[in-house]
């Protein structure tokens, strides 16, 4: 992102946040799999599991692609 400054790309921070949130949401979705929360519509679709999984995949891709590597 920067030529003047060697700043870690913002995309790496985005990836880290998505990855951490993905793990938390996926974990929470798996834990409630057999006891869906009351009052939440369509809980039978287990949205936290597939949405959390999507965040994990995207976060991992961003983190891997924009991981700050020192230039030789």
């Amino acid at each position: 992102m920067s030529e003047k400054h060697q700043i870690i790309p913002v995309w790496f921070f985005v990836g880290s946040l998505l990855l951490i949130y993905g793990v938390l949401i996926l974990g929470s979705g798996l834990m409630e799999w057999s006891h869906p929360p009351e009052g939440v519509q369509l809980s039978n679709l287990h949205a936290p599991v597939w949405w959390g999984g999507l965040l994990v995949v995207l976060g991992t891709i961003y983190c891997a692609k924009y991981y700050p590597r020192s230039e030789a």
Partner: protein, 567 residues
């Protein structure tokens, strides 16, 4: 202590679990960490106030569109969609896309080539100190008030939705924003806006997905709305606009096309420094031209997470929402529709993500206002009028102090708004007073080299006076609504469009008349500032895929198709 402050309010709309609180806490830790990390890069004035002018088109474009994706807008427009239906999407489509493309293709080269650091800075180069000072003082005043309004709105939403006390939300949000903006300047604000962009999309996109599954798709949703609200047209954009009496907004299509599309949105997207500052951080002219156009594609998609949840609320919520000033105990107001839909579909984890997106949106709104205030105060008021020749480090230090002082004033504003709720409407109306005439002044100055120094100033002043007059007359004597808006049925949103149109027309007429009798500025003072005297870099060597104009046309074609689909 903090937990006691946070949980002192009695009733809440949703309840957070441990994982939700962890998600919110991680966000706060990350933005503070990013602020401290970026501090070492924000050493010069250009770094602190313009993020080093080294952002790529994508980063500048996302920050540009994100600066307008604050939580006030999200909650308000979802509420408007519940109240007015699909017509609310006009503010995202015709009320944004043509202006963003116009900024990228026509206006950005002048802003960028002139090397200005702000919109008042451009006015100073083009017209002189009178127009610049008027614009800088009003902008600085408005941004600081808006930051306070954002702070109060966030505290209020957190109180209603989560049960957090007002004091807790105000203290935590202002401390966090103060630390990360004072440390990293515009770098921090832009990084946070990009994070916020992703949070809002991933936090809100599940609502339309699950809502459409529940209603059986678009046609199922429309059928349910017709069943619950017989005789009302909530799902078309242009059809109900042949007459103000045919739609709940009381607006005619002429006001949408000329008031919203040609003036209000052009004024906001091309001259409000809060959004333009993001594009000025781009690394070169091509990136600066491309950034608003990239932003326009995302802006076109925002109705998916704002308008559609409002429509789904009409279709599935088991009760009817009411206007904010009519909500009694146990009733929900229009602006609650987004949190209600979030609570309907999102359990632990997903709820935390959605709430974090709202918090991020509010804090980005404050950070955007405070960083723009620091720039305008330091470069357009302090440097020219108080201390001209200080070293660069002095101005950076002033920018950091401005951030802190600006936040303290914002906190004061937030508490003032708490005790005088109508002030919030007035502060939001303030922006409308200046933005529409400012567009007339800036665009005439860019495209017509004959416009003189006094013509620019007097045109701007006349436009502002016209805008304030129209607002006050319509506010305090409803008989004037028919005069300015051509229909007594016009609601506040429609009145604002006509007010903008009148203000801009007044500004243009006065500017042209004064120009015709005044002496123009010499050509040598206008090089790089006006169309006839500026060499805009050509793009012959660039492949068509990388040309901003190609993508600008693509955005306009998609916009036209969307209008036809939802006619």
């Amino acid at each position: 202590m903090i937990a006691t402050m946070a949980l002192s309010a009695p009733s809440t709309l949703v309840h957070l679990s441990g994982v939700d609180l962890a998600i919110i806490a991680i966000y706060f830790l990350l933005v503070l960490g990013i602020g401290f990390y970026l501090k070492k890069f924000a050493k010069t004035g250009e770094d602190f106030f313009l993020a080093g002018r080294e952002m790529t088109a994508w980063v500048a474009g996302l920050a540009f569109v994100s600066a307008n994706l604050g939580s006030l807008e999200l909650l308000g427009w979802a509420g408007n969609a519940y109240q007015y239906g699909m017509m609310a999407a006009h503010w995202y489509w015709i009320g944004a896309i043509p202006a963003m493309v116009f900024l990228g293709i026509v206006m950005m080269p002048f802003y960028y080539i002139s090397k200005t650091h702000s919109v008042p800075g451009y006015l100073k180069l083009r017209y002189g100190t009178e127009a610049s000072a008027l614009s800088a003082v009003t902008f600085a005043f408005m941004t600081i008030l808006m930051s306070g309004v954002n702070m109060y709105a966030m505290a209020l939403v957190m109180e209603v939705v989560l049960g957090w006390s007002l004091h807790f939300s105000i203290i935590v949000s202002s401390l966090t924003v103060g630390v990360y903006v004072a440390a990293g300047g515009l770098f921090s604000a832009i990084f946070n806006e990009v994070l916020q962009f992703f949070l809002i999309w991933f936090g809100a996109l599940l609502i339309p997905i699950l809502g459409l599954i529940e209603t059986g798709g678009w046609s199922g949703m429309v059928a349910r709305i017709h069943e619950r609200f017989p005789g009302q047209n909530f799902t078309h954009m242009w059809g109900p606009m042949s007459s103000p009496s045919n739609n709940p907004m009381g607006v005619h299509w002429i006001a949408i096309v000329f008031g919203l599309g040609a003036v209000q949105s052009m004024g906001y997207w091309t001259t409000d420094f809060l959004v333009v500052q993001r594009v000025l951080s781009a690394k070169d002219v091509r990136s600066a031209k491309l950034a608003p156009i990239i932003g326009s594609f995302f802006k076109m998609a925002v109705p998916l997470i704002v308008i559609l949840p409002g429509l789904l609320g009409l279709a599935v919520l088991p009760f009817h929402l009411v206007p904010g000033n009519q909500a009694g105990p146990g009733q929900f107001k229009y602006d609650d529709v987004l949190p209600l839909m979030l609570a309907r579909y999102c359990g632990p984890g997903l709820l935390g993500l959605g709430i974090t997106a709202l918090v991020a949106g509010f804090m980005a709104g404050m950070a955007g206002n405070v960083s723009a205030f620091a720039t305008v105060w330091t470069y357009d008021l302090y440097r020219p009028y108080m201390r001209k020749d200080a070293p660069d480090a002095h101005y950076v230090s002033m920018g950091r102090w401005c951030t802190i002082i600006g936040l303290i004033v914002s906190i004061g504003t937030a508490y003032l708004v708490q005790y005088n709720k109508s002030m919030m409407d007035y502060v939001q109306a303030l922006f409308g007073f200046f933005i529409a005439p400012l567009f007339g002044t800036v665009v005439l100055g860019m495209l017509w080299k004959r416009v003189s120094r006094m013509a620019g100033f007097l045109g701007l002043l006349a436009g502002v006076i016209m805008s304030v007059t129209a607002f006050l007359l319509m506010k305090f004597d409803p008989s004037w609504v028919k005069v300015f808006a051509f229909s007594s049925l016009a609601q506040p949103l429609a009145q604002a469009m006509w007010q903008a149109l009148w203000a801009c027309v007044t500004c243009v007429v006065v500017t042209v008349l004064v120009t015709l009798v005044d002496k123009p500025k010499p050509d040598e003072e206008l090089r790089g500032l006006v169309y006839a005297l500026t060499e805009v870099p050509r793009e012959e060597g660039t492949s068509w895929l990388h040309r901003p104009a190609v993508w600008g046309v693509a955005a306009l074609v998609i916009l036209a198709v969307l209008q036809i689909i939802f006619w």
